[in-house]
């Protein structure tokens, strides 16, 4: 990227545009200026409380995520993958879910997790290194983070096949499955296999692609010649492009895709066009591959600013409401921070205990050996301190 947003090359017809600075044709219900616009296929009618709630979700998600970055900077987390800029994509889709739906996240879906009403501590424990991100996936209907890119798309496709085999689809209140992935994932074989599978088995699956423009440093131009929402069509799976920074549009589009899945009409793909405002993770240096001009371009499309403008203009919320949300978010951040700092190191035995349902004798022996060895060191330390 040069000093200014680069225009599309007019000479290379088949080459994808540098998507991050071009405005594609997407479903949008709320402009970056906060103006509500109509779309022929999608509409959204929520209660006033629900509209206000989306704002709260957006702000809380942003603040909790920012705390993840802060905790990493302070040495309390080993790594943090920020979702800054992607709040609307996650909150809009997350709030469109019903309790019976099941989520397969990638690894920065803190906002979706929040919308599901789940304890967020598991995601922080994973990045603190106190466990491997385990959670009660059956009860939560929210699976563990998937670090290997696109691996979760197949798990979701299989799970959705199971939902269909259980006869849990085919009504207006059937079950649906949503899998989150990024633009980079669309290059993986697993993603493409998941589309084949979901298609031929007519699985109740929504593939929710957060196209945040980057797979670490690589732009969309290195991932595809045809954008994901159009590629889906080639698999016989309807694809929709939505403004991922528009919480109303992502809500409406996701709701439509989920309803389709519930009714037994099969899978679909949503490409939420958004932007990762932070580096890939706290370990990344984004200044090596993008510049301030590009960030400014996307700052002007901020999902929270536009939504707040609209709420205020519609008199759905006022300054005291906004201030109240800020206060609540601050409290949630303080509470989470305290809980993260209180996460203690796991016991040595834990690395052995859950590898198998039935522990093989060899692992049991190694477990005993490791514990015995640790105890011998502890004894030696105690004896040493007694000697002094």
């Amino acid at each position: 990227m040069g000093g200014q947003p680069r225009p599309a090359k007019k000479t290379a017809k088949n080459r994808p545009k540098p998507a991050s600075t071009n405005e594609p044709e997407f479903v949008q219900l709320l402009t970056p200026e906060g103006r509500r616009i109509d779309h022929p296929d999608y509409d959204l009618n929520l209660t006033d409380d629900e509209y206000r709630g989306l704002y709260r979700d957006l702000v809380v998600t942003r603040e909790l995520d920012a705390q993840g970055t802060a905790l990493q900077r302070q040495g309390q987390l080993g790594l943090w993958p920020s979702l800054l800029g992607q709040e609307a994509a996650q909150v809009g889709s997350g709030r469109a879910l019903r309790p019976q739906d099941t989520v397969f996240p990638a690894y920065r879906e803190l906002g979706v997790q929040w919308c599901r009403g789940l304890d967020l501590i598991s995601s922080f424990a994973l990045f603190r290194g106190t466990d491997l991100g385990g959670r009660d996936v059956a009860a939560d209907r929210f699976n563990m983070y998937a670090i290997v890119i696109a691996s979760q798309t197949l798990h979701a496709a299989g799970y959705a096949m199971g939902v269909a085999m259980d006869g849990a689809v085919g009504t207006d209140d059937g079950e649906a499955v949503v899998v989150y992935h990024g633009d980079g994932a669309t290059s993986e074989g697993d993603f493409n296999e998941a589309l084949v599978w979901a298609g031929v088995f007519n699985a109740p699956l929504v593939l929710f692609c957060q196209n945040n423009q980057y797979a670490i440093s690589e732009t969309n131009a290195r991932q595809f010649r045809l954008p994901p929402y159009r590629r889906a069509e080639g698999f016989g799976v309807p694809g929709t492009l939505v403004d991922g920074n528009d919480v109303l549009a992502t809500y409406a589009v996701t709701q439509g895709a989920l309803d389709r899945a519930r009714r037994g009409e099969g899978p679909s793909l949503i490409e939420a066009y958004t932007y990762r405002m932070q580096p890939h993770t706290t370990s990344d240096d984004a200044t090596r591959y993008r510049d301030e001009a590009e960030l400014d371009f996307w700052r002007a499309k901020d999902p929270i600013v536009r939504y707040r403008k609209w709420l205020a203009a519609e008199q759905l919320a006022d300054e005291s409401y906004f201030a109240g949300v800020d206060t609540e978010a601050g409290e949630l951040v303080r509470e989470l921070r305290a809980r993260v700092m209180a996460l203690t190191d796991p016991e040595i035995a834990e690395m052995f205990d859950n590898v198998y349902a039935e522990m093989p004798p060899g692992i049991a022996a190694q477990r005993a050996e490791a514990l015995e060895f640790q105890a011998s060191l502890d004894d030696a330390t105690t004896e040493g301190s007694e000697a002094r």
């Binding site: 197949l154 199971g162 697993d190 599978w197």
Partner: protein
């Protein structure tokens, strides 16, 4: 007692699983209407239908990845990988997903998935159809790895693998598929993770599994004519290995020869040699020897008789052991 081939034994075993476990299902390429390229799933589609016997798209990562999703939903998939050399596209889903998800979950998630893989050479096949990839999976914590060597074990072991809650990689020696033997379908077989002493002897211990058990047994029979009394142990489980019968045998004989088709380098035989040396050092009269495939890609089929461990190579190793 019924006489049947290993293919039939597996088929009957799968049938019992499907009857007993309503959540079990069979999935893979051509396993449905065709009945599998080796006919192991013959007739199951007709009797259990398309929801239980699933013809999948031709994508191995997809087979294992969606099996994981189905298991998360409460199903108990039994997957078929059509040939040994085709398992590698599924490698991530096997070693990073299937093997690790239960552990990552802190034991909250169990993935009762069985992955059947016809393996090994000796059938004159073209490349990628004769490989022995068991060491990759035995090396992976979270997976269990077993292999049958005769119809009776095939019949019972597939049922035992499907009954457990851990992922099991189930290797089937395809050159033994059509060998017939008696199967007692009434009495439950030996535990899945136990080694079996196939033949007792005092001179030396032959340790084999899958397709090389038959090689070892034939070698022992030939050696008996020369007055050598060889013990033959079928490992059956490659992860975890049932060590005590091995150690007891080597303590008795003082000599051990491991026989497998896979290349020797960093293979199962290396682990056996290391552990036997650790545990039986003062009983050993000779180093543990290995008779294995060479450390080269599986050769063109006209050379496979020179690549695979055979009776002569096994007896030669026994002679070398006895020379110590």
């Amino acid at each position: 007692m019924t006489t049947m081939t290993m293919v039939k034994a597996l088929n009957e075993g799968l049938r019992r699983v499907l009857e007993d476990q309503p959540k079990s299902l069979v999935m893979g390429e051509d396993v449905g209407r065709l009945g599998g390229v080796f006919r192991v799933t013959d007739g199951l589609h007709k009797d259990f239908g398309s929801d239980r016997i699933i013809d999948t798209p031709l994508a191995e990562s997809g087979i294992i990845g969606t099996a994981i999703g189905l298991a998360l939903r409460g199903y108990r998939p039994i997957c078929e990988i059509q040939f040994d050399g085709f398992v590698y596209p599924a490698f991530d889903q096997l070693v990073s997903q299937l093997a690790k998800i239960p552990n990552r979950s802190g034991g909250r998630v169990r993935l009762p998935v069985v992955v059947r893989i016809p393996y090994g050479g000796g059938i004159g096949a073209i490349e990628h159809h004769s490989e022995s990839p068991e060491a990759y999976f035995a090396h992976t914590a979270g997976l269990k790895v077993v292999t049958c060597s005769d119809p009776a074990d095939a019949y019972w072991m597939i049922q035992q693998a499907a009954a457990g809650d851990d992922p099991v990689i189930f290797f089937e020696p395809k050159r033994r598929y059509h060998a017939k033997a008696e199967v007692d379908t009434g009495a439950a077989g030996l535990d899945l993770y136990r080694a079996r002493t196939v033949r007792e002897g005092r001179t030396a211990t032959l340790i084999a599994y899958g397709p090389t058990v038959d090689v070892a047994v034939n070698a022992a029979a030939a050696a008996a004519e020369e007055g050598l009394d060889l013990e033959v142990i079928d490992l059956r489980a490659l992860s975890p290995i049932d060590w005590e019968p091995l150690f007891a045998s080597v303590r008795k004989t003082g000599r051990a020869v491991v026989v497998h088709e896979a290349p020797g380098n960093v293979g199962i035989g290396a682990e056996v040699a290391a552990r036997v040396t650790e545990e039986c050092f003062y009983s050993l009269e000779a180093p543990v020897l290995r008779v294995t495939g060479y450390d080269v890609p599986y050769p063109a089929s006209r050379l496979e008789d020179d690549y695979l461990p055979n009776l002569d190579r096994v007896l030669d190793a026994v002679d070398r052991s006895l020379e110590h």
